[in-house]
Symmetry: C2
Subunit: 638 residues, 2 copies
């Protein structure tokens, strides 16, 4: 741990032998755009402070003070509450890596003090299992989430150390990790956590310390699964050994956190069986079990993945944490492979499923994220089970770290936003300046400024949603037909070089595989990476569920600066029936249909921005009209 | 029973105080068309003789000989087999009313002789309950179908008497009916048949004899239901008193035969509660429980109606007998009301659900009539439960009787086909001559030839499937916008007057209420009254289930004289995917979709004609394509 080499990196694959891509630190990328930068300002000014207030109000800090004997009283909230505070620390640490803030730092220091005091002499730390519960420690790994909480502590401590160079919390985490290593392992206690999380934390601790015992312990926990030690159920992903999994099942967050851990192990060990299992799970998830928003985990029951193609809209669970987990997993898969299918999915989930989890004002949250609502869903300031709010905070706080990677060949550009980055290659520093109005527009100007003229590659992600793309460097223009790939531009780069990219941002109609019964006859609207929805507040005179969209409806985009912090709305014409379908005839010919429909205008907004104006009807999947306008006009002419 | 007034009429409402319409006899209408007339020729030459052979081969005649002691052996087939023979007698009788045939008549006489011999002294007649089973008579009304068989005997006897003026079989039927009247009734035996049928037969017997006891007995059987006497189940329509029914449930044939009986009673008694119940049941059936072909009874289980909107295609039961029952019920509703919604449905069911029950060669049958098949369904020469074959025979044999009615105002034209009719009004005889190529074309020329100049009305059914219609009499042309109605033309008619009608026969795309999950995203093709299907035999290089129809696909009609006895085929372009949808992506944008589809030509044939060329894939409901050709062409241009 050479302190001068410390950088605020979430997943530090710098030395990982089986990761293709190497990290670019959070602090190396300065966002200057109108989409993310204002959100990160709100994160600092509203989200992180109000989350602290909530954590205090709901006893999260109290529990630590109680455990250390400073105060008396009953344990407050859920037995896994410690993890919420740890995630908040991780979030604040990432934010501090972007920009130092005295107020947030002093809050951190205070909280870390409380954590230090609550730790046992032997390193054990969990504020629920103290006093009369002390003898229940490590007794119920399936349900009691001690290892889960420990994992979050380790992640928080690493983030805090890398961001602030203060090792206060890291010392606590190491002491706990060593305690766990003393308790668990071959010829020690066997078992695995019912809620994975510690696996990836331990690999990251190995990356930081280079102490292999943490990597071995992480592997140990993965290896224990599938032998009935924690009950043998799919819910806990204990029904099969990890390397034999071929269908993604169980609690979505647990399942995907586990995949993160396995991917982390793979990057260190190169064990093919792990990667093969991960690829199978990814394929199953993306082809059969994922919402169009990138959200996962369709069932309320067990917060779990459903059957293949079980993707209800109104009854979607689609937990915010699961979306974040999905980004975390895809980030690791991207680091392993450099395959744009993973970064495409990171982008999709980021702009849609994950971002919907936090309100525009930065202090209201969704735990579940339905794709359809009948005024039933409302954002809340906090949840009794408060896993999602600090999780979305740590994602947003670390966001600059997801923009770039490096490899031996050069620089990889994953995400686009107006920004400046300072990227270190071997013996070379390259400033990358992005000028763009992404995600609203598809033009991106990238200035490449190496500190000296040098030959290297720039890998540009051409998003799969872009029908085609043009990339122009100097006089050379490249037309990219096959998108969803990284395009390598290898040349001698010098100060003043520019790349002009044009992605094809246009309104697309998206259809679902017809095995998804809930989306039959329905279409979704997407523009660039952004999924749209129709919210009744924008369409006050319509029952939005009676709208149907003719497939030739021309959908127009209009920039609307004063709505929902500035968005492109999409407007179009649709057909409208006053009738509820139980009152409609059983069979209707097209000419009869024409009579019962009227033409109306409707407005759609980005899905992430819904439910920011009170309770509203909302839908992502719009009924496809059986009429199309061309044919309607010819009818009208008759 | 004045013999000289006897006419071959199926439902003789001549004296029924609550029927708006009065009958025109089967013998009064001579079909001369190319659609029905060849079928009736086949009926005589193939269907009725081969059915007799089957009846003989399967022991139906033997059972009567056995019962009368002429032969020895075991009873053969199902305990309700007598009814099959009775329906065949009814069919032959109707045929004889159209055209006398010595061979068929002598067969009849022989069979009637066997029936006469099998009847007990006390009038009881059922060949199953003889010898050792004698003491079980009338013991199990729910399951053993004695009253059902009796009903069919009565119907056959009335038909035979009206057609031939021979009262041989009628005498048997009267003796049985009187026996039943001795056994059942207030202060006698209580009960109701598990399989209705006798109710309408008894009313018809009342109409013939004017003996009110038969009407009262029919009412008695209706009144007994819904009090648990036959088990209280929906299957037997015993869950509620008839007058309280509001949802059509239970065994489809039983349910609808019961409705026929109730409608018959209403026409005699005018009891509003019966009519109201019938209207509720009709509305529920047509708006929620009927196939697009007019077929009913979606479930194999209990051969019953399903829940509202439960209309599976491949697993449709849709028994041929139920379609015939549906025509019988609608005929009665039409007689009561003169409302074209009933005759529209008669026409629909006749040309589609019912006609599909018999092969073009006249000697193969369908018992169940799916709307989709994966080479699973094949017509058979006979069924162990042989209710459908003679039922379709009696329908076709009586078909001329469904063309016209009269009322005080004049003549009602229900069906269209090239034909000549001689219709008696009060003090007037009117010849009605139809010239038309209906159902293939929409032009109908009607010559009206009263034997003397006279003022009366002609009511023309303008089918609901016709978008609009023109009706021209002399120089007067009427444009009919609201179709699905009878248009009354009242004037002074004289020899040589003509009505020129033009119905709008064009290919229509039909959509299903979206509550029918099986038809979501699907479209059916209809032209005039005829529902089309796609059969793989006509589309040999395609997996027809991978076809999808763009809604702007232009569907063209082509007369094809040498196919399936002459049909209009419908041809068009569709899109085709080689991929099974489990291999398709979860979400696909319209531009991606274009790439995966190819354009193909397909051929559709009338549904009634399917499965006449061996086992084939077949579907009525075709997937709607998410693309339309206009939009595809603009894509191609790019």
């Amino acid at each position: 741990m050479e302190e001068d080499k410390l950088k605020p990196i979430v997943v530090d694959t710098s030395l990982s032998p089986y990761s293709k891509l190497k990290p670019v630190a959070i602090s190396s990328v300065k966002l200057q755009d109108n989409f993310w930068k204002p959100r990160i300002k709100i994160l600092k000014e509203v989200t992180l402070p109000t989350q602290y207030e909530q954590l205090e109000k709901t006893g999260h800090i109290f529990n630590f003070q109680r455990a250390s004997g400073k105060v008396k009283g009953e344990f407050q909230g859920f037995f896994f509450n410690d993890s919420d505070l740890y995630k908040w620390i991780e979030a604040v640490s990432y934010y501090l890596a972007q920009e130092y803030d005295e107020r947030l730092n002093s809050l951190l220091e205070r909280v870390i003090g409380e954590i230090e005091s609550a730790q046992d002499e032997d390193g054990y730390l969990n504020t629920y299992f103290v006093f009369e519960k002390k003898n229940q420690r490590w007794e119920n790994l399936r349900d009691m989430h001690e290892l889960y909480c420990a994992g979050h502590l380790i992640q928080a401590a690493i983030a805090h150390y890398r961001a602030t160079k203060s090792s206060r919390l890291l010392k606590v985490a190491l002491k706990l990790a060593d305690h766990i290593d003393n308790v668990f392992g071959p010829n020690k206690k066997y078992g695995a956590p019912g809620h994975p999380e510690i696996e990836m934390a331990l690999v990251e601790l190995f990356r930081l310390t280079r102490d292999k015992k943490y990597l071995r312990l992480s592997e140990f926990f993965i290896d224990q699964r599938g032998h009935g030690l924690i009950g043998g159920r799919e819910l806990h992903i204990d029904h099969k050994p990890f390397r034999e999994l071929d269908e993604i099942v169980g609690h979505a967050v647990r399942s995907v956190y586990l995949n993160c851990g396995a991917a982390d192990i793979y990057m260190e060990t190169g064990e093919e069986a792990l990667l093969k299992a991960l690829e199978r799970l990814w394929e199953n998830m993306t082809e059969k079990k994922m919402y169009i928003t990138g959200g996962i985990g369709s069932r309320y029951e067990g917060e779990s993945f459903g059957e293949n193609y079980e993707l209800p809209n109104e009854e979607a669970y689609c937990e915010t944490c699961a979306s974040i987990a999905n980004i975390m997993w895809n980030w690791r898969m991207l680091l392993i492979t450099g395959d744009a299918k993973f970064s495409d999915l990171i982008e999709l989930t980021l702009y849609n499923a994950a971002l919907a989890g936090i309100s525009l004002d930065g202090k209201h949250y969704f735990y579940v994220n339905p794709l359809e609502s009948r005024k039933k869903h409302e954002r809340k300031e906090w949840y009794d089970c408060a896993c999602c709010p600090p999780n979305i905070a740590r994602l947003l706080a670390s966001l600059p770290g997801y923009f770039y990677s490096t490899s031996e060949e050069g620089i990889w550009v994953h995400l686009y936003a107006k920004s400046e980055a300072k990227i270190e290659l071997e013996n070379l520093t390259v400033n990358i300046i992005q000028e763009t109005n992404y995600p609203w527009e598809g033009e991106v100007l990238i200035r490449v400024e190496p500190n000296e003229e040098s030959t290297f590659s720039i890998f540009l992600r051409v998003p799969g949603w872009s029908k085609l793309a043009t990339i122009k460097v100097g006089d050379e223009e490249k037309l990219v037909h096959e998108t969803g790939k990284y395009i390598e531009i290898r040349r001698k780069w010098k100060q003043g070089d520019e790349i002009r990219i044009n992605f094809h941002v246009e309104v697309e109609k998206i259809f679902s595989n017809e095995n998804v019964k809930n989306n039959l006859c329905k279409v979704a609207i997407k523009r660039g990476p952004i999924i749209y929805c129709i919210e009744s507040v924008d369409n006050p005179n319509l029952n939005i569920f009676n709208l149907s969209l003719p497939l030739d409806s021309e959908l127009k985009t209009r920039w609307t600066a004063n709505l929902l912090n500035g968005i492109n709305i999409i407007e179009g014409e649709a057909l409208y029936s006053e009738l509820d379908n139980t009152k409609e005839k059983l069979y209707t010919s097209s000419y009869e249909l024409t009579k019962s429909l009227s033409k109306v205008r409707f407005t759609a907004i980005p899905y992430y921005a819904w439910a920011n104006r009170g309770k509203s009807d909302m839908l992502v999947w719009i009924k496809i009209s059986k009429m199309f306008f061309n044919n309607l006009r010819s009818k009208e002419k008759q």
